[in-house]
């Protein structure tokens, strides 16, 4: 899932500025699960902004609504009326949700309430860790299901590097060495021979190096453009 963190109340107030009518929009998918921008967080943010602006002597009208997914037009259509009644939308979606609102409601000023961090999972309650870098050319089949792109600080394809010490990364002792994890896992699976295949330099054009990415599935499109 996409993992995000909420911005501080001070930053939210600064982003909202002098707008008087504010709509806080939560998202019911990834950021709900990571406790950053779901219905509960939207209600808390809304109440905090109301009380804070009242204490500052310029009370704002702040309401909140949460959609199932901010990144799909169909769900955004459901809040069109509410969006049209405010001066500013504070999105508690990930960066995609904020941009979807901006794209879907061109006349509305929208600001982000979260910092979108990474693609990851909860390793225990209250702890989230990065697992995927969306490089566009998955090599997990070569590494025993552990991603060296996302989890090795240097994204090495033929690790570990000299900075790996007792299973930890030189960047921080809190970071397990991805290549140590790969080695241990392949050993336990009896598949160490997988590592004998040297990997050539990765083609990063499938990642951000190729510019903004897009997937077109002609089999799924409803309207195929004519040449």
């Amino acid at each position: 899932m996409i993992i995000a963190e909420q911005k501080s109340l001070e930053e939210l107030k600064s982003l909202v500025g002098t707008a008087e009518k504010v709509l806080v929009v939560g998202c019911g998918t990834c950021v709900t699960v990571c406790f950053a921008g779901g219905a509960r967080e939207a209600a808390i943010t809304s109440a905090s902004l109301r009380m804070s602006s009242k204490l500052d002597g310029s009370p704002k009208q702040v309401s909140d609504v949460t959609v199932q997914r901010q990144c799909e037009w169909e769900y955004l259509d459901q809040i069109a009326e509410q969006v049209g009644q405010v001066d500013i939308v504070l999105s508690l979606g990930c960066g995609i949700g904020v941009q979807a609102i901006a794209e879907h409601f061109p006349q509305v000023w929208v600001v982000p309430g979260l910092n979108t961090k990474f693609l990851g999972l909860p390793t225990e309650q209250g702890v989230w860790a990065e697992r995927c870098a969306a490089c566009g050319d998955c090599i997990l089949g070569l590494t025993g299901g552990i991603c060296p792109i996302a989890r090795c600080s240097k994204s090495l394809l033929n690790g570990p590097c000299g900075g790996s010490e007792a299973g930890h990364c030189e960047v921080s002792p809190d970071i397990p060495c991805a290549w140590q994890l790969i080695y241990d896992r392949l050993t336990s699976l009896g598949r160490l021979n997988v590592l004998l295949d040297l990997q050539p330099p990765k083609n990063w054009r499938t990642s951000r190096d190729g510019g903004p990415r897009q997937i077109v599935r002609e089999d799924l499109r409803l309207h195929i453009e004519e040449d």
Partner: protein
């Protein structure tokens, strides 16, 4: 501040007390049975457990204008 003025202020206050039904709420019940008075400012809200308390409930009470929130459990 003399005692009378302090009493007056307390009587004007509104304190919401979120109480666990298994301990604090039962204690308040017992206090009532024993005719032990407590300030009328305290408005008790019974919870099945204080673990049920959400920060949103505290914010809602404060936003509604109460002077304080007490959690007892």
């Amino acid at each position: 501040m003399d005692h009378q003025a302090e009493e007056f202020q307390v009587s004007q206050m509104q304190i919401v007390a979120y109480c666990c039904e298994h301990c604090a709420y039962a204690a308040a019940d017992l206090a009532g049975g024993l005719r032990i008075p407590y300030p009328s400012a305290i408005k008790v809200v019974q919870l099945p457990c204080t673990g049920k308390l959400d920060v949103l409930m505290v914010l809602q009470a404060l936003e509604a204008g109460v002077d304080g929130v007490m959690v007892a459990g």
